[in-house]
């Protein structure tokens, strides 16, 4: 018997779970209240993480990034811009992290190679000539919308159905188990039920709202980050600051633009995030530190979206108001123990590791359903993103 899974949310996480579950033989329906990748995923940096950003404070996350970075290069070749990245030290304090950084990269399996400053300036002539050190890493760039479409296109090829502009307004119950979703089609207001054997909550920063429909408390903290784009490609590669995660620590080139980010502040309601003007100013100033003259290029957009970070304890939030200390890892929950069998949640993580997150979610679901089909997403290449529209 084929089991039917409804996935709530068509960000990179929900899309990757759809891909994973179709390959395991589930029948999959994805419901998304807006457009594909329209919130958290759409407004991320589009960085294919080398993993180096996390080697000092979250080595498991670093290792995951490095492994899936290498995998995705094989699985979605038409989506990724493989332009590489540099970590640069802008001052003595940055420089003091270098040895520990290189050591941590080696331990976490993150390829990293120190290069002479002169070599870095030859590769990136617009970089601040006063940088003190440079380390080459295997970053890449993608368009998050296309990245997500590629997973959904492949899931559709394997039978998945994707309903955009379709909002979940309640969960359906089958006795004491979650047995589907009640949705509203936002195009015409029609409300209808979609029955399912299991429901996967991949609603990102909105996961708590879905959990509340089943009286399950989900520890997700929406943390916003601001990015500012300017209309000039100042650098060929991704430029990271060699320091612990900090505001304004990265410039990602996208086509002929450069996107500098990011900040980090908890928000109450992720539906609308008013970006404070001082954050825009702070990002442009950070860009200027990397690239003298950065802000002379015309502004090409200001964006912020809420990341769904896991809240491990309330103390952590109080101790770290910027929420930088919270894990960038992810968690998959089977809510059978919370009184909602049939409901699963996948929270946190990064777009780079969407495939891995979906693999773990698939394993958790298989364990609950007794299905034994193995994960196949390490082998199956993804279709071009245009195929989503076939």
């Amino acid at each position: 018997m084929t089991l039917h899974a409804v996935i709530i949310g068509a960000g990179s996480t929900g899309a990757a779970v759809a891909h994973d579950l179709t390959l395991r033989g589930y029948r999959v329906t994805v419901v998304e209240r807006g457009e594909v990748a329209c919130e958290t995923t759409g407004r991320n940096h589009g960085l294919l993480h080398s993993g180096a950003r996390y080697v000092l404070n979250d080595p498991p996350a670093a290792r995951e990034c490095a492994e899936d970075n290498a995998l995705m290069r094989k699985l979605m070749p038409g989506i990724l811009e493989l332009n590489g990245g540099l970590f640069v030290a802008l001052n003595e304090e940055d420089l003091s992290y270098k040895d520990a950084f290189l050591e941590a990269c080696a331990q976490a399996g993150v390829p990293a190679e120190e290069i002479p400053v002169q070599e870095a300036l030859r590769l990136e002539p617009n970089l601040n000539p006063r940088i003190l050190a440079a380390v080459k890493v295997q970053d890449g760039v993608f368009d998050p919308f296309h990245f997500t479409l590629a997973f959904l296109a492949t899931a559709k090829q394997h039978g998945a159905v994707v309903h955009t502009y379709t909002e979940v307004i309640d969960l359906l119950w089958n006795g004491r188990s979650v047995g589907g979703v009640k949705v509203r089609d936002r195009r015409d207001g029609r409300e209808y039920a979609i029955g399912a054997d299991l429901v996967v909550n991949a609603a990102g920063p909105w996961a708590g709202r879905i959990g509340a429909m089943a009286h399950v408390d989900i520890a997700v903290l929406p943390v916003a980050g601001t990015m500012v784009a300017v209309g000039r490609r100042w650098v060929r590669r991704v430029i990271n600051r060699l320091c612990p995660p900090c505001d304004g620590g990265i410039i990602v080139p996208q086509r002929r633009n450069s996107v500098v980010g990011t900040t980090s502040w908890p928000v109450e309601n992720p539906d609308y995030i008013a970006i404070p003007p001082e954050q825009v100013e702070a990002m442009l100033a950070a860009g200027e530190e990397f690239i003298p003259g950065f802000r002379s290029a015309p502004l090409r957009g200001i964006s912020a979206a809420a990341r769904p970070l896991l809240r491990e304890s309330s103390q952590l939030v109080v101790a770290d108001p910027g929420a930088r200390g919270i894990t960038r890892g992810f968690s998959c929950f089977n809510h059978a123990g919370d009184g909602a069998p049939g409901l699963f949640s996948i929270i946190g993580g990064k777009t780079t590791t969407s495939r891995l997150m979906a693999e773990v979610m698939g394993d958790v679901i298989n364990e609950a359903t007794g299905i034994t089909t193995p994960c196949r997403t390490r082998e199956v290449p993804l279709l071009p993103y245009h195929a989503f529209y076939v």
């Binding site: 332009n83 760039v141 957009g301 200001i302 529209y389």
Partner: protein, 234 residues
Amino acid sequence: MRTLNLRIVRGGPGRPATYQTYQVSVDEHLNILDAVQKVWATQDPTLLFRHACHHASCGLCGVRVNGRERLMCLTPIAEFPEGATVTLEPLRNFPWVGDLVVDVKPLMDRMAAIQAPYVRKDELTAGSEEGTRFEDCIECGLCMSACPVVGSDSAYLGPSPLAMIKRLLEEPRGRDIQSLCALAGDAHGAWRCHSVMECVEVCPSNVDPSQAIGWLRRYLILRGRRQLAGAERR
């Protein structure tokens, strides 16, 4: 803070199109897209609009702003005086889904038929496996909406797909030149353009489809001549 009146087309297939006006206040440093999202989040959750990156990279938030095709994320609030009415309408020449949303499938199908590219080998790191994304087109559809020829000939390939074919003929990387030329040389291809130049006016992303179409015409003529002269082995 600046207060604007957003006059937005509402409705969809089978429902009459009406204008609904929302008064909304947003900071001057933000863009029309932020104002629309604020309306959706605080006044009317039924409002439909497309968006993702908010920095002119994903190509999703194209609409007509006061009659002109633009990305909402690149339309500054500061452009409009306090109390101004700004009219927002969906793109033309695409099937209407509802409110500000259109179905971009016709454009995506064209790009898929062309096998639109993503990356090229990077000249500066030749021999490596690295590549840099070179194409400027973000497939936002603004040019398809602004082009009067697309409006009168639904089979016309359109400005951005033709510009994409030009990029591929410049750097084919193993693609089938014959079939690309067949697409571009078709009666609904490069020869269909009337040089109205609206595509150049509205493109938010440095693409010059009109120039590309001129390039394609020269390419097709020269290729035809060579073939007539038998200079090219078929």
